[in-house]
Amino acid sequence: MSSFVIRQARLIDPSQQRDEITDIRIAGGKIDAIGADLSGSNSIDASGLWLTPGFIDLGGHLAEPGYTQKGSIASETKAASRSGFTHVCALPDSKPVADSAAVIQLIREKAEQAGSAEVLPLGALTQGLEGEQLANMFSLSEAGCVAMSNARQPIKDSYVLRRLLEYAATYDLPVFLTANDAALAAGGCMHEGPVSTRLGLAGIPETAETAALAQIILLAEQVPVRLHISQISCARSIAMLRNARSRGHDITADVPLANLLYTQDTVHGYNSQFHVQPPLRSEDDRQALLAAVAAGELAISSNHRPHEIAAKKAPFADAEAGLSMYDYFLPLAMSLLGEQLDISALVRSLTQLPAQVLGRQANLALGSAANLVLIDPQQSLTARRSELLSRGGNISCRGEVLTGQATAVMRNGHWIYQAD
């Protein structure tokens, strides 16, 4: 059997408490050996590079089916792999909505043909994401959905919310919910605060998230459901989740990378790229979210949402929400490394924590599937629209020089991305 040795990389795997320079051998699609001076039929010298488990994204929009002017499963999974993702959860708000086995099957086939990051489909919680009638969750799970989500579409009322939690719990299906009170958020296009007041833009108050989160937590405490909160944006939400955990309710959560990088201040000048959902909030919120990532309380998700250029060429409120994150996700995430956040916590939030949410493994232990990323922490590049793998030109960092690149990404023993 052929084998492949990666020599002298700095292996960073928080789930195994590893951070050391070593060799690692891959054979039969699995981690076959870890240690010094390994032999194999092929090898590369990876000295100076970091080696981590493959990243798992708990939520990105792949634009297919239905929005091919914005992207395709092939283009977006390729862009994801460029930043080290071996697995991405596809949010269900495609067109048609991912509420039938046929759509799930289509998504999985397209992803397989693309041969890049593996797509883990999220099934719709309610039919058409309309928030009223439960979707066929069990059938969706059988078709390959890893969890159920309503994207950011509202659940009609607390009765439906209660029942869908109970139904999902019956079959042990993980539920991903966003905390967003539709009535409080109605009409808003950015964080409600001094910047929205100055610009005259309708705000989304913090309470749109926290009031909804309180309701979700209280209902979920009555049901033994595997609950994950997607895309939190407020400091207050972290405290509420901590409080629920202290009472024994194991609720997980993620934060979109954009909410760790940016605040409401980016909207000054009506830059429509920063029209995103959830909105970019205050510096205090951003700091609290970073601290929660550092403490291992939050996974980081991409909330990748590609758009064609025209979708953003409009006055701020009319521009479509979302940022194209995949291409430059890794260097942008690495730009957060510093006093508050170290590399081990960052890798944990992209590997171990999202894997736990999905009941999977993401590690470089002996015998584990060979899903891994080689990172050159020194390499810089300029972010350019012309060099995107994603079809979404709506990036946040156009023209910026970014440091840290994936040089190669492996899924199940096969290279799915190699830098030029």
């Binding site: 005259g200 833009l201 009506y270 409009a314 006055p315």
Partner: protein, 326 residues
């Protein structure tokens, strides 16, 4: 995108668009008022036209209906000897699939020199200024809740002509601040021009969050907010606010915030009363005050033309300076 206040200036700090009063220097705002003052005297002549915009084409691009504002811009353009084209583009045109960008590209083919823009979206004028061909001046005639800078400047002119100066005045703006682009533009202009204090008065539902960050002090009661004011600016209350759980009724609003002679007595004896119009008599102001001695509401309308002439002339000249420089 760059900050609106920078987009509207040439490299040497002259006006080339007029998008917002925010971030403009005291000198520049004063220059607008001085220029407007000079146009007021020309308007009193039998021949009211000046040739500053001769040969230029001005397009009134109104995505929201407003006969009054549009008419004053039209008159201002005509008195500057410009050719003027009125386009009322209902919002339905863009919802039929034509984007704002499509509309702009079509209009640019007409080789116009200036767009006067009113749009329901905050930031729309700024967006257009960033997208149009260089050389075309954009005048903001109201964008969403963000800014209505010509209205604010005509209010400044009104205050200056009645109070001699803006410096040192205590000004209260009353009513629906949340939805008011006029209030936002007034707050910036008043602070830059040296007002002693800018106050906003209204119920918490109609005061935007963190309004203090803009440089206005929030008051919830007229009794507190009107005390010792030199200038009282009443805002129009839109009827739809009652449907949106922001207010219980017009009568309760009038009881609390409607300007009556009794409440006006709390302000300084020589305080002036302003209103951008159109007035809802008996909702935000009683007739006795609107038509009373302290009211300067009708004067405001006639200053509107002069102020619009001033910013149109200044922006066009800024565009030409920039063109010559290149």
């Amino acid at each position: 995108m760059t900050h609106p206040s920078q987009v509207q200036l040439t490299a040497d700090g002259r006006l080339k668009h007029f998008l917002t009063t925010e971030g403009l220097s005291r000198e520049l705002l004063t220059e607008i008022l001085d220029t407007a003052d000079s146009f007021i005297s020309t308007q009193e002549r039998a021949v009211k036209k000046v040739p500053l915009l001769r040969g230029k084409t001005v397009v009134n691009l109104f995505f929201e209906n407003s006969t009054r504002t549009r008419s004053t811009f039209e008159l201002a353009a005509k008195r500057l000897s410009a050719d003027i084209l009125n386009l009322d583009i209902a919002r339905s045109a863009t919802s039929k699939g034509e984007t704002l960008m499509d509309t702009l590209w079509n209009l640019e083919a007409m080789y116009s020199d200036m767009f006067v823009v009113r749009h329901a979206d905050s930031g729309a004028a700024h967006f257009i200024a960033e997208q149009v061909t260089p050389g075309v001046a954009i005048i903001n005639a109201g964008d969403g809740r963000h800014a209505h800078p010509t209205q604010a400047m005509l209010d400044m002119l009104t205050i200056r002509r009645h109070k001699q100066q803006i410096e040192g005045q205590v000004v209260a703006i009353v009513g629906d601040i949340l939805h008011s682009r006029v209030a936002r533009s007034q707050i910036h202009a008043l602070n830059t021009l040296g007002a002693a204090e800018v106050r906003v008065i209204g119920p918490a539902t109609l005061l935007p969050r963190d309004i203090e960050a803009l440089g206005a002090k929030a008051y919830y009661r007229m009794e507190d907010g009107l005390k010792d004011c030199d200038v009282v600016i009443m805002l129009r209350l839109q009827k739809e606010r009652m449907q949106n759980a922001l207010l219980p009724s017009e009568s309760e609003f009038f009881k609390l915030y409607g300007l009556t002679e009794q409440k006006l007595a709390l302000a300084k004896p020589d305080a002036i009363v302003m209103h951008p119009g159109p007035i809802n008599r008996g909702v935000e102001i009683e007739s006795a005050v609107a038509d009373g001695e302290q009211s300067v509401i009708l004067n405001q309308v006639s200053y509107g033309i002069a102020v619009r002439m001033a910013v149109m002339a200044m922006a066009m000249s800024g565009q030409q300076t920039e063109e010559n420089a290149q």
